[in-house]
Symmetry: C2
Subunit: 351 residues, 2 copies
């Protein structure tokens, strides 16, 4: 089975219609659909349109709300707490970072925590919004526990992601978007399919024992990136997101692919730091871009064709995509099924 | 040769006298000496009294200033830029984090960047100061380039450390203090001495090729923790520290153990986020401590005796130390030599 190429705008319009059919207002349905398609164009398929089925399922079962915005719980100087009420995370994430940016303009830094949140897609989206507004942007969220403590035999922290972006001149953004696990589960599944062993740093068995066997790893647990480093970072992200928002953390965050009738209930944190409070913004942007260019043009190891600055791979994939998403067969089938169920017309190319 | 046990207070008083003999005022000499001895008590010897010789050497050659405080370059809402003027980093770090905490009290978050900085010891020191003041504390600094980009064959980023601490009840602090390299050079040197191979993720040869040979690694370069993750984090720490302060970054930061007559010239960044702006502080402290306790009491893998929460190992080492530092022979010799040169009386136990 091969992938189906489809124009991003057409695909996004179709997915927006699916969301709208579940009760999401038109404009918001478009924003979320565009966000998912953007992730696919960046080559981040795990944060792209493959999520549509799960989002729609949860919208229909009311564990994701059709509300378009979070409500303000508290607003004190540069600190805002929002209650997302289980609305789509891309919507409340955009809202939260825009508030953080506005607060940063007034106070130097804005810090917005969000409780009762839902999956917000790729964290880089929000960090880059801040960078576009001449701020350093930091976005993070917690997930249900997936990884053990070093030496542990039960899941206690998520692979909680953090994204950091800084303003820079030129086309190539400077952004880091990392999960705190050493490897993604997708890479372990690929190793299993090809019968390859995995590095011992990627995962442990279900009782916490070391393994290089992909099947045992899949039945076991992901390991934190860099051992205690990734573990500590993940634990602190969990507490910063969950406690500042007085929302869920640890095992109070539910599985994303668990009972679709129960809210996911994660917590988010958005920080914007206004560069203009410290220095001349155009100088900062020029210097940052020059530093990234220096990384890209550095001396390479034998056999290495190209060095990348943080955020550059996604940008290059988007450039190469030329506005076309290649939809895998399983995703195309799911989208067509949803279209039939919701009385939405699917693009001709998908059918 | 065995280590020499010496009471922390006596050792610190002696080291303070060494600093004072180079012109550092009494009170500041004590603060810095206490900071170094504290790191030894925490089991962080690389950030402890072994640094005294290099600090004194630089103080005598005027590449470290005897000034006790940084000067304020700009102060705009929650943002402050300091010029440390190459003063001892523990002094200007304490000052910067205290300003960040005060700003957080007014604005929710305080962000203080420092240029022309010197080595500030263990970053956790400053993060924990913020946590003691009911703030989330973040401290980071850049170093000279030590690590290549993934696939690179030249040093382009430091193993730039970051520490994050959050307020918590009880005796055991919650703090992460991590360098962005996969392994410390000290661990590679230990492998070389014992003739053991090292994991391929730790280092590359001087031309960027993979190696598990410790000697080749020492002649080569440390690798970032988690590949592109640690690399991206390190690059962003470098730019956040260096650009917000309009100070040095990249190869403008000099080697710590290079020409002692030339300023180190690193940049620091301190962030405090006031918990009371978001929620009840005592609730936050209780919940954070309970989450850490849950980590410590979680199910363990076969053969594992104890699980640790982030920051707990250092705390346990300090408890076990009982106020006694065990000074290695090489450090004792260096301190005695400095004492003779500076006409300072060394503790009897060291001689």
């Amino acid at each position: 089975m091969t992938t189906t190429p489809i124009q991003a705008g057409e695909l996004s319009g179709f997915i927006a219609n699916l969301f709208e059919a579940t009760g999401v207002p038109t404009r918001s349905a478009s924003v979320v659909a565009d966000g998912l398609v953007d992730a696919d164009l960046d080559g981040l398929a795990s944060h792209g349109i493959m999520l549509t089925e799960m989002y729609v399922d949860r919208l229909r079962k009311n564990s994701v709300s059709t509300n378009e915005a979070a409500t303000v719980v508290s607003d004190r100087n540069g600190a805002v707490v929002l209650d997302a009420g289980h609305a789509l995370g891309i919507l409340t994430g955009d809202q939260a970072m825009q508030i953080a940016i506005a607060k940063a303009g007034q106070h130097a830094a804005g810090v917005v925590s969000v409780r009762h949140g839902f999956h917000f897609g790729a964290a880089s989206r929000f960090a880059l919004q801040a960078a576009d507004a001449d701020c350093i942007g930091i976005a993070m969220c917690n997930t249900r526990p997936l990884m053990p403590a070093p030496g542990g035999a039960e899941r206690v922290v998520g692979n909680n992601p953090i994204a950091i972006a800084i303003p820079a001149d030129g086309d190539i953004p400077i952004v880091l978007d990392m999960a705190t696990s050493e490897a993604a589960m997708g890479k372990i599944r690929m190793a299993e399919k090809s019968g390859q062993p995995i590095p011992a740093s990627w995962a442990v068995t279900a009782d916490g024992s070391p393994t290089t066997d992909a099947a045992q790893a899949i039945a076991g647990m992901l390991l934190p990136s860099g051992g205690p480093k990734g573990f500590g970072l993940s634990f602190l992200i969990d507490l910063m997101c969950g406690l500042l928002s007085q929302g869920a953390f640890g095992d109070k965050v539910r599985p994303l692919y668990g009972d679709a009738g129960l809210p996911y209930d994660c917590s988010h944190l958005f920080i914007a730091i206004d560069v203009g409070h410290f220095c001349d913004v155009s100088w900062f942007r020029r210097a940052a871009a020059a530093a990234a260019e220096k990384i890209r043009t550095g001396r390479r190891a034998p056999g290495v064709e190209k060095l990348f600055s943080p955020g550059e791979p996604e940008w290059r994939r988007r450039e190469a995509a030329g506005g076309i998403v290649h939809v895998p067969p399983a995703v195309a089938d799911a989208l067509k099924r949803l279209a039939a169920e919701l009385n939405v017309t699917a693009p001709a190319s998908l059918t």
